[in-house]
């Protein structure tokens, strides 16, 4: 017997991993290429999250498959740099995740207040 009640979320809302969340957050500001993304994620997380090249490109590929990000050609084709930008679907996912975090933070703060009272 299962003791976990599963709530069905709307199909498009998926919980995000920290790496995916940080990639989307970084691209929410402006389009970036791979190395700029890596550095920005390190900076956003105050050095706590450092993505390896393998992890970064695995995540970028999944995000491209889901159409949450898009590739675009840069003017300078002499270098192997490809920029990525957030799609409207990716922005919606990011906003959904932020809302989920807000709800969780509010619930946690309420619990802490109750336990301290």
């Amino acid at each position: 017997m299962r003791h976990v009640v599963e709530r069905t979320e709307p199909a498009e809302v998926k919980p995000l991993s920290e790496a995916v969340f940080l990639i989307l957050l970084s691209l929410a500001e402006k389009p970036r290429h791979g190395y700029a993304l890596m550095r920005d994620i390190e900076s956003l997380s105050h050095g706590r999250v450092r993505l390896s090249t393998g992890t970064l490109y695995g995540a970028l590929r999944r995000l491209l498959d889901d159409e949450w990000i898009e590739r675009f050609e840069q003017e300078d084709t002499s270098r192997d740099k490809q920029a990525y930008r957030l799609t409207p679907a990716g922005r919606r996912q990011l906003q959904g995740e932020l809302e989920r975090m807000r709800q969780l933070t509010r619930a946690a703060a309420a619990r802490l207040r109750m336990s301290e009272a």
Partner: protein, 134 residues
């Protein structure tokens, strides 16, 4: 990290992934290695270990996803806004050049991507020409 060793690690990835991301990954790795080298030998050694582990884990995960039919590369793109006929024609020529280069090096996934870019740009060009005064 030596080029030969990186090539070996990259060879563990599925072919379509190597075609679409191989050059970019090599570029990112090169830049990251330069930065870490300037932070001292300990930082560089840790970086090398971290990257090898990441590349191996990435290759295994992607192979598993490909076998399970859960991963495919679609020609998703965003083309920079070109407002003039001349600019669009220039972008078309660049896409064709990239496609020819990709075919010449047997990178067929990449060639399909540029073919899709070219098709979309030609649609845009038709629209732009239609807006011109006769």
């Amino acid at each position: 990290m030596k080029h030969g060793f990186f090539d070996f690690l990259l060879s563990l990835y599925p072919k379509d992934h190597r075609e679409m991301f191989g050059a970019e990954m090599a570029n990112v790795l090169r830049q990251a290695a330069q930065d870490r080298r300037s932070e001292g030998i300990a930082a560089y050694l840790w970086f090398t270990f971290f990257e090898i582990a990441g590349l191996l884990a990435g290759a295994v995960a992607l192979r598993a996803a490909t076998l399970a039919g859960r991963s495919r590369i679609k020609p998703v793109l965003w083309i920079p806004a070109a407002s003039s006929v001349e600019e669009t024609e220039r972008l078309i020529q660049r896409s064709v050049d990239c496609m020819v280069r990709a075919i010449a090096t047997h990178q067929f996934v990449k060639a399909r991507f540029y073919s899709e870019v070219e098709r979309k740009l030609r649609q845009r060009l038709e629209g732009l020409k239609g807006e011109l005064p006769h």
